[in-house]
Amino acid sequence: MSKCTWIFFRQVYFFISLLIFLCLLLAVDATASEPATSKVNSPGSELWMNVRKNMATGKVTSQVKSVDSNVLINSYAQRWTQFRMTQLINYGLIVLLAVFSIIFLFYVIRGRVKLSGGLSGHMVHRFTDYERVLHWVLAIVFLFLATTGLILLFGRPIFIPLLGHEIFSVFASASKEGHNLFGPIFLVSLILMLFSFVRRNIYARGDLTWLLRGGGIIGKSHVTGGFFNMGEKTWYWIVILIGLAISASGLILVSPNLGQSRIIMELSHVIHSIGAIILIAVSMGHMYLGTKGTEGTLESMKTGYVDIKWAEEHHDRWAKECHDNNRLISAEDYAKLQGKIIQNAKVSNAMEENK
């Protein structure tokens, strides 16, 4: 255990014991008898104290009928303000920057993970058109939502000093409207994603080994994996579960006139923002591994085909399956499938004319 964690545990222990001590003091105090002097209470003082503490005050009504019009003081609002201004903005920025620098450091130290045997040229089919379209719809919508969301979160401390209030508010308004409009598209593509990928993402035997060996980061040898390995499955479930939480809380926030109370909205915002920070942080890792991080991975989402060597190194069990079912495609056939070789001269002539 590192020293830091030890100090943390010691502090927790100290606070818990302090708490118990205070409770004991209160218990002793309660047993002491009331002083006999007469007190002049401010009229209704207890009532106002209860209102302040959000405690039961009896029936509260107002002739003005709107959401929470009968709530005199919502003391949770203060807690939410504190959360957004001191915790979310500060820790959110720290988390995002930290993850970014870890990925950058990882790239500097480890470099691009190359295929040990090089590319063979023989390809196997991995993702259908539909799956790839779905992936990129989700990716584009996610990037748009992340950008606009981060502008709204960090815009005030970062951009207002640079751009001024008037110009930034144009960006912020555009971000807010765009964010609200694209949110439901994210939910729809997420649900489609859930259905089309769920069967391949159920955890299976062998996944634990993957986890124990750190997904191949530790050591040079590659670890076993099926169609998706443990890391990809976890990423999938993070996207689905956190994505659904973000979407649900987002829908509560985006339709303010359904009669939900402020506390529900404040909690939704807390869920929404924490979920978004986590998802953005983890997605940076996904984006790195999918593009720069490992050789040959991006091909699967670009063309739908991967090199069999790539499959053997990252998804050995799936590669074996492909070998067994004879699903390999030669380099030439692959080029034809991708339209890189056109045998029919007529077609190629027509193509050139068109261009």
């Binding site: 058109d129 539909y130 790839r132 379209v133 990129w136 719809v137 584009i140 919508v141 508010s169 144009v170 308004s173 555009a174 807010k176 409207e177 765009g178 609200n180 409009l181 694209f182 439901p184 598209i185 729809v188 593509s189 670009k302 063309t303 739908g304 499938l337 991708q338 339209g339 193509m351 068109n354 261009k355």
Partner: protein, 213 residues
Amino acid sequence: MIMDFIDGPFWYFSLIVFFSGIIWNMGSIVFALSKVDLSVSRGSAVSGAIKTIFTRFAADKGMAPHIRLQIIAGYMFHLGLFALLFFAAPHILFLEEHFLGFGWTPMPHWAFIIASEFAFLGLLILWLHRILNPVSRLISTADDHIASILTFVVMLTGCLALLESFTALRLLHRFSVELFLIYFPFSRLMHAFTFIPSRAFTGAWFGRRGISS
């Protein structure tokens, strides 16, 4: 200054290009039809034309199972775009003030939002399919990509200006619309108008020969 340019001269310029381009295109189609067919007719050309205009809304039976994604996304996009183009409150107001002098009942705000969401999702799927499917990629030209991106930009700037209170955002939307209008007659975006004569022509040709199309 830019503001006056977008709201004034450039707007009129784009309108002139748009309308003259459409008239030119449609005119040349009509004049191309003037050849007289001397063959003995075996069926009605008119009924064939009218029938085909509508039957072509459904995809070919043999093709349909292979292009389900494009059909669904295509209808999502086109219906969504149609609804938000002609039934969104700010658009109706704009048409009423600048062109028609009369308006009609707009969709409620939530329907407008849902329509635009359908349109966005459909367009994204269609464009990504165009890039990602090798066959679509091969048969697509720069025109297709420019048209898709331009349409997307017009819709995006519109959605960014939804609060309807910032001049800069309104101008951005208007500017992208102007670019769209200028590009329109020179590109496949013309299909918004030509789909009717092209279907009618095919239908008439087949109808006259007594062949179902």
